[in-house]
Symmetry: C2
Subunit: 453 residues, 2 copies
């Protein structure tokens, strides 16, 4: 990764190829599930950006170089807030339930760190409806993520889910008034640990020591079996309608996702709170199974009050995959590599400037058949031309016939075999296709090293 | 086009589909020609952005909402300046000649208008080398554009080329000292016409009336035949080495691009100057043949002094395709449309909540075979489920077997034919593929209307 401005990652072409292919795979999966594409502008009015909680310090504002008064628009910091605005604005032109995907950059002015960037690519899916949205939508969004993560050539990941209603009902059942502050504090478990959270809950939020302990206790409940989760929650002796509702929703997802085939990648973790104010039900955070210290790679949840048109609220559920964050691990640790740097399968050599037409003719025919190629720029000696191909991993060099009128010969650089070929029929061997491959050895080494563990 | 902030276009999902497919086609073509992908961050240091001339007022600066001192980075306004910076920074990791493509958003704070946006998508290709770069590279970049424009389902376009050396040599041969000011003034021909340019050349730049007339005369020379262009230039009676050099380069491109097959889309137009300071040779502007009043859709040229590493200059040549600008015509005028709104080929109906497993099972099998589909969210009556498919243009509805264990039946909505089908083998008819189609009738109407003519 190249970062000449802190937090703004750039890649070499061979790594950009990996990113592009990953994005194509994700996009293809989103479309396989019937999500429609949209894109929103990079900027939003400041008041739209500030509707969401806790991120005001991270917003980049725009001003014009010679007209610095224009301060009312800023770069979006996620795709959910712009999506909510887009749905409201285009309500009458969209069909509901509306399923959309959106793969775009977002920007946050926060401190860069491991897996944390100021500019990053996100891939979002969401479903919103103009009436009610069944819990099945939550399941479907999560299952789509599970399926995509299985298809991508990346380390295995697990989805940790919880439900806001469950936590809020539990807090209310305990008699806690400061529900939002309690949620936000519990959300810091990852960062400040149980002792830190207990201290904040009693000293800052003002809970009794007993209540603080109960909040920590429920956060220790994890597992994929809904009956066990329910039993563990009930053993804490708190009852509340909202708690029941949340537990039922959580159970629906767990029950439907345990297919019995292999490990269930969706597990309940009642410590998950998600800091953002707008979640109202399901919440999810996804981590690499073997790299739990690496930040969350997919996150999201249910929001019943974020999108509105007039007085009507449109419930929604969605997740955001952090593509740059995933790349921050798999590229930086050398887990994923493109098989070559250049898209070209063949370099067409140039015999002489006068015979450039021959090379161009071959290139034209190959491209018409979908074979990526390029013609060498000068009539340098063949050794230099072959060196150019080697540098870029281009697997073949085509030598036009400098003396006669045959189409010439193709050399496979790996084997040095050179054979006559016809540009109307010749095809590169599949073993030379431009692919991206997961390096199992590098993965095993990284696990053994214990980094991010 | 939806623009709730002036100059920031957004599209409905069906139009975003068109944009995505166009981008995919362009990307595929770039790779067929062996260009390697890179992406640069959206921001550059202000001093990098200000190296290029005449755009300082259009730059968007970034500041953090609660820390407004950070004023030294801004959004890039094109891909050429960031590319030059990227090449300099990563010189030792790249192989030269370096051919890259880059498809990204750029931002300019200028006044929005017809085809002019504040946020827009550009698709760039460039070739730079660490030594000299032959004129062949200029030809190759232009020919790549010609080929791509032919492949895209858009109105036909023509490339108007000129050469900075030719103009500069001509001005110097005349004895004009203020070469840059003359170039910049001549570049305004499109906007202020011959009389306006003559007035500026004599009154502002300080040329004699005779010199101003000569500058206008050379600007009237156009054509695809290099011998005719040469004769027309020579008839103006000015000689200069740089003029000869420019004429030779221009002729090289014209001679190689006239293939004799159909109309030659590359023609010389000696009025083309391009305002930007960094062009040193070939310059190009591309317009829709039938819509000459619509702004340039592809532009670029040769820059021998823009990229440098230490004391070494790296000559380069490249063009930038304005994707948003192309869409601004073809989508706004209804020339290009997606065949349906949703990527889904099939809606799997839901017989009842209890039988959701059946629908999910069918969906899983279809997706595994690459058939895009979605499962209806509730067990609403079939009429409502069919209506959902109709709204989105989903061509088929699959009804699982609610009573038995067969895979059920598929209804083709267009014909209302319903037949038993097997999710392991069933495939949608090709006539229902999600495609984007050019509307010839709308095109003919637009031409007849005389808009942009």
């Amino acid at each position: 990764m190249l970062t000449s401005i802190s937090g703004y990652p750039e890649w070499l072409p061979e790594d950009r190829l990996v990113e592009l292919r990953l994005v194509e795979m994700i996009q293809r999966q989103f479309e396989l599930y019937g999500f429609m594409p949209i894109e929103t502008r990079a900027v939003e009015p400041l008041d739209v950006l500030l509707k969401k909680g806790e991120t005001d310090k991270e917003i980049y504002l725009l001003s014009r170089l010679q007209d610095s008064e224009t301060k009312d628009i800023g770069l979006h910091f996620d795709m959910t807030v712009p999506f909510a605005r887009y749905v409201s604005e285009n309500f009458n032109s969209l069909s509901f339930p509306f399923r959309r995907y959106q793969i775009q950059k977002a920007w946050r002015g926060e401190r860069p760190g491991q897996g944390r960037f100021r500019e990053f690519l996100q891939a979002d899916i969401d479903i919103v409806d103009s009436g009610s949205l069944p819990i099945y939508a939550d399941y479907e969004v999560l299952q789509t993520v599970v399926d995509i993560l299985r298809v991508l050539p990346i380390p295995s990941a697990r989805l940790y889910i919880n439900n806001r209603k469950l936590l809020q009902g539990f807090y209310q059942g305990l008699g806690i008034d400061a529900v939002t502050e309690t949620l936000r504090t519990v959300d810091k478990l990852d960062k400040i640990g149980e002792d830190g959270v207990r201290k904040m809950l009693t000293e800052t939020v003002g809970l009794s020591a007993e209540h603080a302990d109960k909040c920590l206790e429920i956060g220790r409940i994890t597992g994929a079996d809904s009956a066990e989760i329910r039993a563990a929650v009930e053993s804490l002796g708190v009852t509340h309608d909202l708690l029941d509702e949340g537990l039922a929703e959580l159970s629906f997802i767990l029950d439907n996702s345990s297919t019995g085939k292999g490990e269930n990648p969706i597990v309940a973790d009642l410590s998950i709170a998600r800091g953002l104010d707008y979640y109202t039900g399901t919440v999810v955070e996804t981590k690499f199974v073997d790299f739990p210290k690496y930040p969350t790679i997919v996150a999201g949840g249910r929001y019943d009050n974020l999108v509105s048109v007039g007085n009507t609220r449109l419930p929604g559920v969605g997740v955001s995959m952090g593509i740059t964050r995933i790349l921050g691990l798999v590229l930086n640790e050398g887990l994923l590599k493109a098989s070559r740097k250049s898209p070209s399968s063949v370099l067409i050599a140039l015999v002489s400037e006068e015979q450039r037409g021959k090379s161009l003719h071959i290139a034209r025919k190959l491209r018409a058949r979908g074979v990526a190629c390029e013609v060498f720029g000068t009539d340098a000696r063949f050794g230099a031309q072959i060196g150019y191909a080697v540098d870029r991993g281009i697997p073949y060099v085509w030598f036009p016939d400098g003396k006669g009128d045959t189409p010439g010969e193709v050399r496979e650089l790996a084997t040095r075999e050179q054979t006559p070929a016809d540009p109307d029929t010749w095809t590169p061997d599949e073993s030379h296709a431009l692919t991206i491959a997961f390096d199992e050895d590098a993965y095993e080494s990284l696990k053994a090293e214990g980094k991010y563990a």
